[in-house]
């Protein structure tokens, strides 16, 4: 039977990709963030997952407003990274795990999630950066992926409650999967930040700490806020916390242990965080 080794959560700020490209990890500005990834790297090297189910949001690379899904599930053989317009070096492609993708899709539709299936899908920095952070020396990605994109671009956005339910349904599907893979669940983005409007640069440490404190032991606490509540509390891109919430749901209802946690302000315009949650032994 497949095993879910735990959840890896991290910010995915494009600036991180630039910092890696420029060799700035030891720079005073970046070091407090990059150092927070060292325990993640050790954890993954120890656990050696075969597959990653990645909850993230697309930033206008794969989806445009002509067809904007609330939830999109990848079912491709390969996922290419591509030019997003900002000079980020294009990273290696990912192998998909199509059989697992279709198993998740069958289970999700059966559970009344109205997903969009994507048999071809470009993945942006929100997928790539967390892997660059997790596997800094990889010449190719050592895991296959199933990417799951949540709409954070065009309101109305799905509620935190609905995203947690999606994640739980994914967790249920993983539990019924017949393979023997080791699976890591990932949630990328956040924490609080806002790029546009008069409140650009907004950060909310209190709300971020509330999220980091409750995500493991009491994720339902994060669903008392509507999507617009979260936009107000965390900034308009801070809504990316829904990716973390969905990923948390996929870890199921068993007790979790916090393996590592890091929080640092600022990376670019963002309160950056890293977290690993593992099923209690």
């Amino acid at each position: 039977m497949a095993t879910v080794i735990g959840g890896y959560f991290t910010s995915h700020v494009p600036g991180i990709g630039h910092a890696i490209a420029r060799g700035l990890k030891q720079d005073a500005y970046w070091k407090p963030f990059f150092d927070g990834l060292l325990p993640v790297q050790r954890w993954l090297a120890d656990k050696k997952p075969d597959v990653a189910v990645v909850f993230y949001n697309d930033h206008g690379l794969n989806f445009f407003l002509d067809k904007m899904p609330t939830f999109a599930v990848g079912a491709a053989a390969t996922y290419r990274n591509a030019d997003e317009g900002w000079g980020l070096p294009v990273q290696n492609s990912f192998d998909g795990h199509q059989a697992l993708s279709w198993h998740l899709i069958e289970s999700l539709v059966n559970d009344e999630f109205d997903i969009t299936t994507c048999q071809e899908m470009l993945v942006d920095h929100a997928v790539v950066v967390p892997f660059q952070l997790a596997y800094p020396d990889a010449s190719h990605w050592p895991v296959k992926i199933v990417p799951i994109a949540i709409n954070t671009v065009q309101h109305p956005l799905p509620s935190a409650k609905r995203c947690l339910a999606l994640g739980r349904a994914v967790g249920k599907a993983l539990a019924s999967w017949g393979g023997d893979e080791k699976i890591v669940v990932m949630g990328t983005g956040g924490l609080s930040h806002q790029l546009e409007g008069g409140r650009a640069g907004f950060i909310n440490k209190d709300y971020d700490q509330f999220c980091l404190d409750h995500l493991g032991p009491d994720p339902d606490a994060l669903t008392k806020h509507s999507a617009l509540d979260i936009v107000e509390l965390a900034g308009s891109q801070g809504i990316e916390i829904v990716n973390w919430i969905a990923a948390r749901g996929a870890l199921g209802s068993g007790a979790l242990v916090q393996k590592t946690r890091n929080y640092h302000i600022p990376i670019s315009n963002t309160a950056a965080a890293t977290l690993v949650l593992e099923p209690a032994a």
Binding site: L65, V153, H155, G201, I203
Partner: protein, 121 residues
């Protein structure tokens, strides 16, 4: 047929444009143009002749003016969505701190200092 509107009032979050349907109805052409900037060729075509490129995507005069002046707040008011606008900003090597400073009326240094200060307290 009266001009019909949704019964639910629009939530207002100070300083925070919410990209809902009302915004989307204004911005499609502008966002479509910005989405095209995922391609290097298209970015170069824009740089070479912004007016012709805006014409190709049928931008409104308000949208053209906002693009020309690189005024992010004007782009947002013209229906721009920040996820796509960021690609236009990228053509001019404006990062999120440059546009943060511009929108808040701060100098770049002051905006960066404001971000650092939030980590300190």
């Amino acid at each position: 047929m009266a001009l019909a509107t949704s019964p639910s009032p629009r939530r207002v979050i100070p300083g925070t444009p919410v990209y809902d349907g009302q915004a989307a109805m204004k911005g499609y052409a502008l966002n479509a143009m910005c989405y095209s900037f995922n391609s290097q060729d298209n970015r170069e075509a824009y740089r070479a002749d912004p007016d012709a490129y805006c014409e190709r995507f049928h931008l409104t005069p308000e949208q053209r003016e906002a693009c020309k002046s690189l005024n992010v707040m004007a782009m947002l008011n013209a229906g721009g969505n920040v996820y796509y606008l960021a690609k236009l900003a990228g053509i001019y090597h404006l990062n999120v701190q440059d546009i943060g400073a511009q929108q808040t009326g701060m100098s770049l240094e002051a905006f960066k200092a404001m971000l650092l200060a939030q980590g300190a307290n």
